[in-house]
C-alpha cells in the first residue's frame, strides 16, 4: 500500500498529465504556424501552373475542408481530436489525401524500427562495451588513441558524415546505391529482397551506429572512470577477485544503470525517426514523413506521429520507473 501511495501513484498521475499536456500542445502548435493545409494543397496543384479556374478552386477548398475535418470551431476540432486519440484513428493525411494516417504509420514504422532500433541497440551495446573497457584501462595508450579518434568523430553532423559515406561507398567505391532502396511492390521473402534491404540500409545504419556509438562510448567511459575509483571496486581488487570479473561484474554492471534509462529514452525517439539520415540516403522512414507533415501543415499526420511518440516515451519512462527497483537494489531498499 505504501508502495502504491509513495511510489506508484505519483508516477501514474505524472504519466497521465504528461500525455494530456503533450497531446494538447501538439493540437495547438501546428495551428499557430499560419499554415493552412487546404491552401498548401491548392498551391501544390497550382505550383507548376496547372489549370484550374477560380470556381473550381473555391469548390475544392470547401470539399477539402469537409474531408479534412477542419469544419467547426477549434473546440469542436479539439474534442474530435481526443476521440481520435482514444480510437487511435487519426483520420486522413491532408497532404497525402486520402491515405489514412494509420496506413502511413503502418508503412513507414517497420522501416524506421528496422533501421533505428537495430542501430540504436547496436551503437548502445558497442559504445558501452568499448567505452567501459576503455574507461577501465584509461591509462593505456590504445585507450588514449581511441579517445582522441572519437573526439574527432563526435562533433561531425549526421548530414556531413552521411554524405561522406555516400561519396566514399556510392561514388568512389560504388558498393552501394546512391538512389536508395530498390524494393518494388512485388515483395516476397527471398534472398534477393533481403540483400536489397541490407544494401539500402547499410550506409544509413553505419552512420547511425558510428555517430550514436561514439556518444555512448564517451558517456560510458566517464561513468566507468568514476565507478572504478569507488571503494567496493578497490576492496574487490585487493580481495583477489580476478580483473576480468572486476571489470564486468563490479564496474560495468554498476555503470550500466543510467545507460539503461538512456537506452529506453533513445528508443522512444523511434517515432520521430532520424530525419537527416533518411534524407541523405533516401530511406523511407518516419523522420521524412513527419518533416513533410510539418512543412505542409498536415495536422493529422503530425498529430498521429507525435501522439504515438508521446505515448511511447511516457510509457517507456513509466515502465522504467517501475522496473528500476528490480534493477537497482538501492531503490528497492528505499
Amino acid at each position: 500500500m505504501r508502495f502504491f501511495r509513495d511510489y506508484l501513484a505519483p508516477r501514474l498521475v505524472q504519466y497521465v498529465l504528461v500525455i494530456f499536456c503533450g497531446i494538447t500542445a501538439v493540437f495547438f502548435i501546428p495551428r499557430l504556424t499560419g499554415q493552412d493545409p487546404v491552401l498548401e494543397i491548392i498551391a501544390q496543384i497550382q505550383a507548376q501552373g496547372a489549370s484550374l479556374d477560380p470556381l473550381a478552386v473555391r469548390n475544392l477548398m470547401e470539399t477539402l475542408k469537409e474531408l479534412y475535418g477542419l469544419k467547426g470551431s477549434l473546440f469542436e476540432q479539439y474534442l474530435t481530436m481526443w476521440r481520435r486519440v482514444f480510437t487511435l484513428d487519426f483520420g486522413p493525411s491532408f497532404f497525402q489525401f486520402p491515405t489514412p494516417v494509420a496506413q502511413l504509420l503502418r508503412i513507414y514504422l517497420p522501416w524506421t524500427i528496422g533501421l533505428f532500433a537495430t542501430s540504436t541497440v547496436l551503437s548502445w551495446a558497442l559504445g558501452n562495451i568499448i567505452g567501459g573497457i576503455a574507461g577501465y584501462f584509461s591509462g593505456k595508450s590504445w585507450s588514449k588513441i581511441l579517445d582522441a579518434v572519437i573526439m574527432v568523430i563526435r562533433p561531425i553532423p549526421h548530414y556531413i558524415f552521411g554524405v561522406v559515406l555516400l561519396i566514399l561507398f556510392a561514388y568512389v567505391w560504388p558498393l552501394f546505391p546512391a538512389r536508395g532502396l530498390s524494393i518494388g511492390r512485388g515483395m516476397a521473402l527471398n534472398l534477393e529482397l533481403v540483400l536489397a534491404i541490407l544494401r539500402g540500409s547499410f550506409l544509413p545504419a553505419l552512420t547511425l551506429v558510428i555517430l550514436g556509438g561514439v556518444v555512448w562510448f564517451q558517456q560510458m567511459k566517464l561513468l566507468v572512470q568514476n565507478v572504478k575509483r569507488e571503494d567496493f571496486v578497490e576492496y574487490a581488487r585487493v580481495g583477489g577477485v580476478k580483473e576480468r570479473r572486476v571489470v564486468f561484474r563490479y564496474v560495468l554492471k554498476n555503470a550500466m544503470l543510467p545507460q539503461v534509462t538512456q537506452l529506453a529514452l533513445a528508443l522512444g525517439q523511434v517515432f520521430s525517426g532520424v530525419l537527416i539520415v533518411e534524407m541523405v540516403f533516401s530511406y523511407p522512414g518516419m523522420g521524412l514523413l513527419l518533416y513533410r507533415g510539418v512543412t505542409r501543415g498536415d495536422y493529422n499526420l503530425v498529430m498521429g506521429i507525435t501522439v504515438l511518440s508521446i505515448l511511447t516515451i511516457a510509457t517507456a519512462v513509466l515502465l522504467l520507473d517501475l522496473l528500476y527497483p528490480l534493477l537497482d537494489p538501492r531503490i528497492r531498499h528505499r
Partner: protein
Amino acid sequence: MRKGILGIAVVLLVLLGGLALAQLPGGVPREETLIVDQLTGRVGTPSNFNLWAGWRWQDRGLQQLVCEPLWTVDYATGEIIPGLAAEMPIYSEDFTKMTIKLRQGVSWSDGVPFTADDVVYTIDLHVKTPGLLYHGPMAEFVDKVYKTDDYTVVVELKKPNSRFHSHFLDRWGCLRIMPKHVFEKVEDPVAFEFNPPVGCGPYVLKDYDPAGFWTLWERRGDWEKTPTGMLYGEPKPKYVLFQAFETEEAKILAQLRHELDMAQYAPEGLRVVLEKSNTARAWRKDWPWVVNIDPCITGIMFNNMVEPYNIKDVRWALVLAINMVEYMATAFDFMAPVSPIHLPPVPAYVEAFFNPLEEWLKNFELDLGNGEKFKPYDPEIPAKLAQAAKERGYPVPEDPKAIREIFGMGWWKYAPEVAEKLLKKHGFTKGADGKWYLPNGSPWKMTIVTDTNPAHHHYRNAMAAAEQWRKFGIDATVNATEAFNSLHLMGEFEVGTMWPAAEPWGVGVDLSRTFDVWHSSLLTPIGQAVTLGPGGAARWSDPRLDELLKKMETTNPFTEVEATRLLGLEALKVVVEEMPTIPTYGYCGAVAWDEYYWTNYPGAENPYSQPYQHWPNFKYMLPFLKRVKE
C-alpha cells in the same frame, strides 16, 4: 574466435558482391531504361493513380507517360499538339457550343478502343460528381454533352465561353479523358485508386516503390495505337524510371555514376555535375547553361490592399530603386533573361509581344508631378548585364541577338532620384540618416515574405530586392517561412515573392490566363483565400483590364488571332502602367542530361520539344531520344 571473425568477414564480402549486382528493380536492363528525377519528390500516395480526384504526384510518370490529353501546350515550339483530339476545337459563332473531333485508331492500354463515348462519359461524370477536381467548371458551363458519331463530341454550354477548351489543354494539368470501361464499373470514382492506371499514353505501369521513392513504366507493345506513336513514332526507352531524391548531393552522385539520366538542380548543383562528368550536358551547351524559355515569370508581389503598396507611385518608386545589374548578380549570377513586362520571354511571346511592345516601352512616361515626366525604360540593360557578366569571367557572346536571348530585352532604369520624387509626391520623407519615413512619420519597414528553399527563384528574388531597397533607405527584411503559400493566398503579407503574374499558356497569343486572375469579380478581401494563387494574391484590379477581358471573352483565339494578340498587348500596357507586381526575370530551370546511355535531348541548339521530364509532353520527346550504344 578468429575463425568466427573471418567467417563473418567472408559472409559480408559475399553479400556486398551480390548487392553490387542488383541495380534496378525487377532485373530491368539499365541500357534500355531512361532514369529521370521526379520534380515534386517522393510520392505520398504511391498506390493511388486517380489524378482526377486530387493531388497524386502526377509527375511520377502519370501525366507524362500514361495520360494522353486532348491537346498539349509546347512552349518551346510554340505549338498546341492535338493528342486525343484530331484538330483544334471548333466553336459556334456565339461560343455556346464546342465541337471536338477525335483521333481515330487510338486504343487504351488494355486494348479497348478509344472513342467519343469516353469523352462524353468523362465530362458527364465531372458535371455530376462534386469530389472531382474539375467538377466546378464542368458543372458551371456544361449544359449537354453528346456524340454525333464515334469520333465527334459536341459540348453545349450554359453560357458563352470562348476558352472552354482550355480546361482540356494540358499545361502541367488539365481534365484528361477517363477510360469509360474502367470507371463505369466503379462505385465511387473519387475513392477509386485507379491501380494499375489505364491510359492512351505509350507506357504502362511496371512497378513502384510502396514508400513512393520510384515508379517504373514499360513501353506498350502496341505503342503505335497511341497518339504519341502516331505523331512521332516509337518511344525509344523500353522502360522509364522516375526516381525521387531527398537531397541534391544524392542526386548529383547518382548522375555522376550514370544512375540518373535527366535531372533538375539548383544552379550550383548543375555546375558540379557539368564540372565532374564527362558525359553530362545542360540545355545550353555553353554558359549560362540553364533553360531560359520557361513559361513562367519570377519577381515581386505587392499586396495592393495594404498601405503604402496600394499607391501606384510607391510601387513605381520601388521599381526605380532597383539597380537591375546588381540585382541579377545577387539573384541569379546573370544567368536569366530579365523581363520588364508580366510575361516570360518564351519564343512565341518574344515575337508576338516583346518586340512589338518595345517602341511603346521606350516612349512610356511616368508623371512625377508639377508637369515633370520621366521615361523609365532602359533598353541597354542587356548590354550592361553582358558587360558585368564578362567582368565576372563568364564567356559572354558578342552577337547582340545572342545577348538578347541570354539577358532579355531590357528593364527599368536605376533612377533613385526619380523614385525619391515619386515618394515625396505622396508625403514620404527622407531623414538625415538616409532612411525613408512613411507619410505618418514612422520609419518605413518592409517585410518580404518568401519560400524557405534558398535555391528557389522566390528566395533569390527576395534577397536581391531586400538588398536593393535597403541601399535605397528602406528597412527591408526577408521572412522565409514554410507558411509562404498560405500567407500569400490569405493576403497576410505586404510584399512577397510569389509569381508576379499567373503563368500564360506559353503558346499562341491568348493571354487571358495571365489576366483573368485580375478581374475585379475575383478581388478577395484580406483574410479570405484567393482562388488563383499566382498573380491573384496581389489583390489588384483595374476597370480598363475588366473591359479588355470582356472583349477577350468574345474573341476566338483560333480564328481571330490578330485581334486576340492586340487585346493582349493592350492589357500588358495597363499592367505595366499600374505595376501591381514587379516582373524581374524569366524562370530558369537548371537541367542536366547524362549522355552515357541516351542522347539527342532537346537542347537549345535543337529545341524540338520542351525540355523538362516533368511536363506532360515528355512522352513526345521520347521518340527522338537515341541510345548511345546500340
